[in-house]
């Protein structure tokens, strides 16, 4: 089992190590994921209902209130 895990690790390690173009791509992926999850999601995209209400019951009451009082 440990040998298999070692082989898998070595496979990925050597694969990443031998990359040329791929290194730039990984840099782009990491920057992109950082912007998406550490900046956009954290500061600009809170889950509206999760941040505003504590329980599912409160959330469903709010949505029903919204849905049944159209202007």
């Amino acid at each position: 089992m440990i040998k298999i895990l070692k082989d898998i690790f070595r496979f990925y390690y050597e694969g990443f190590k031998s990359m040329t173009l791929g290194k730039n791509l990984w840099l782009i992926i990491i920057i992109k994921l950082f912007i998406m999850f550490a900046i956009l999601k954290l500061f600009f995209f809170p889950d509206f209902l999760k941040t505003k209400f504590k329980t599912d019951e409160e959330r469903s009451d709010y949505v029903i209130e919204q849905l049944t009082n159209p202007k």
Binding site: L21, M36, L40, F48, E65, Q66, T68, N69, P70
Partner: protein, 518 residues
């Protein structure tokens, strides 16, 4: 609900459209190029000819660039659901949960694992194991698409669920109904085959550039043969599934269908507008589009929609004002039924809180009887024409997609014919056309999604939830800020993709092969 803020709705829609459209620049190439790679590698494994390995590796690098830059751009859409479209997200309930969870697992295990073997496994695993990984990457990425399209199809034709009035959420009652929703099956096949077509034209176009530069001619010709055959098959099936799609739309979303053809008055033996241009609207009907020029094919629309040249195709006016003779109820009636459903849901909630079971039961009965028109209730005391999609955009997008689809098929057939007879290199004008068809195939892809999504407006969930009820009550300026942030991030990603791809293409397969070996 507070006063409807159309600028909030419009900005939220614009942001979602922007994100989805950028996301869809990356996805179709992944769907199609993965299969082209698998075919090329299969030829390599079968023949043992190292030229095919070189070809496979070159296109695999372009696949890798596209995959790396495009990966996770779709997650932004999920952020937007939770922030900008919270009523919708809640209302959808667990319907999206299962397909999106399966998509996540598929994407992670199938794509990520097999992509690693595909890129790192050359000379480390056997030829057959590597080929299996390439095929599984292709199958995995396409199956990921299935679950997303199942979710989208549910919005176009909600089935297999029951609305729970206590929680205000839809609950899945039949997973198979959701999965085998006729809209889902057709949408999946049409979408993935159009992705194959895009990838085929991408490969043919870039190979044409090599021929124009008189570089790597053997590589380019081999790539063109594989991609053009793949593309012809994909184009034929895309047209076939598009034809089927029209029938599905005519049945489940008749307003979208009428808008795609700008058909205002329903008729038997309805003609298809093959080509048309709008002029200025008339003074009597300022809200309606009028053709300045059109070329029609008699009976074709009736046949296209119902496989019967004599069939009646309802027009926009029939759908808005109703047509008793044809059994079409008016929007006014639907709005009244929708309002009943909304009021009954409110009454049910009040009765439940007051523990008045009989009143709750009565309210629930009225609610269930009228639920299929629930979304129309939001237009009570409003102009029913607010329920119309943008006819001009729907018409032009639909016709752009169809005309380009036909052009792609003819182009690929001609290119294949010349390539088989070794005459393609002499036709420089055709090679230039092949190269410049690459942006056109992306345009056709975007046009297809514009038809699907603009044509179903104002519905976020067909007949049940319009965008005005789906949107979160948040500040418009916050949506505006994130709109421009996304514009910036996605444009930067797109520029990076194009720049890296162009550099890799200019280097050519020899350099790519050598750099991979290092």
């Amino acid at each position: 609900m507070q006063q409807i803020d159309f600028s909030l709705v419009d900005w939220s829609r614009a942001q979602f459209a922007l994100t989805a459209m950028y996301h869809w620049i990356f996805v179709p190439l992944t769907l199609g190029l993965s299969f082209i790679l698998a075919i090329m590698e299969s030829i390599y494994v079968k023949t043992g000819n190292p030229e095919w390995k070189k070809i496979t590796k070159f296109w695999m690098n372009l696949f890798g660039i596209n995959f790396a830059i495009g990966v996770a751009t779709g997650i932004i859409l999920e952020f937007e659901f939770g922030t900008n479209w919270s009523n919708y997200s809640w209302f959808v309930g667990d319907i999206f949960g299962a397909p999106l969870a399966i998509e996540g697992i598929m994407a992670f295990f199938m794509e990520s694992t097999f992509i690693a073997i595909m890129f790192f496994g050359w000379n480390k695993v056997s030829k057959k194991a590597h080929l299996t990984a390439t095929w599984l990457t292709a199958i995995g990425s396409n199956l990921s698409g299935l679950w997303i399209l199942v979710a989208n199809a549910w919005m176009q034709n909600p089935v297999g669920m029951e609305f729970n009035p206590d929680t205000a959420r839809n609950e899945m009652h039949n997973f198979l109904d959701v999965l085998f929703n006729p809209v889902a099956m057709n949408k999946f096949l049409h979408t993935i085959t159009s992705g194959y077509l895009l990838a085929a034209i991408f490969v043919v176009g870039i190979s044409a550039w090599f021929l124009l530069k008189k570089r790597e001619e053997q590589f380019a010709m081999k790539s063109i043969i594989v991609a053009s055959v793949f593309g012809i098959l994909a184009a034929v099936y895309t047209i076939f599934s598009g034809d089927e799609s029209a029938r599905v739309v005519a049945k489940h979303q008749p307003m979208k269908f009428a808008s795609m053809e700008a058909l205002y008055d329903g008729q038997q033996n309805a003609p298809l507008v093959a080509i048309g241009f709008f002029g200025s609207p008339s003074a009597e009907r300022p809200n309606e589009q009028e053709f300045a020029f059109k070329f029609e094919i008699p009976n074709m629309l009736s046949y296209l929609a119902f496989l019967d040249a004599n069939a009646f195709v309802p027009g926009i006016r029939d759908l808005v004002h109703g047509n008793e003779e044809r059994g079409i109820i008016s929007y006014k009636e639907k709005i009244a039924k929708g309002k009943k459903a909304i009021d009954a849901l409110a009454a049910y909630k009040i009765a439940k809180k007051a523990k008045n079971e009989q009143e709750a039961k009565d309210a629930l009965k009225i609610f269930k009887e009228n639920f299929e028109y629930f979304g129309y209730g939001y237009y009570f005391n409003k102009d029913p024409h607010m329920l119309l999609p943008n006819v001009k955009i729907s018409f032009y997008a639909f016709h752009t997609m169809v005309i380009l689809g036909g052009f792609f098929l003819v182009l690929l057939m001609y290119i294949y014919f010349l390539a088989r007879n070794n005459k393609l290199q002499d036709k420089r004008w055709l090679l230039w056309i092949a190269l410049w068809t690459i942006p056109l195939v992306y345009l056709a892809q975007q046009a297809g999604w514009v038809v699907a999504e603009v044509g179903r407006q104002p519905w976020v969930i067909q007949d049940l939830m319009p965008n005005i009820a789906a949107v979160s009550q948040i500040d418009t300026y916050s949506v505006q800020i994130t709109f421009f942030l996304f514009l910036l991030v996605f444009t930067a990603l797109l520029i990076a993709e194009i720049k890296i791809m162009l550099t890799t293409v200019r280097k050519g397969p020899e350099i790519t092969e050598n750099s991979t070996k290092k």
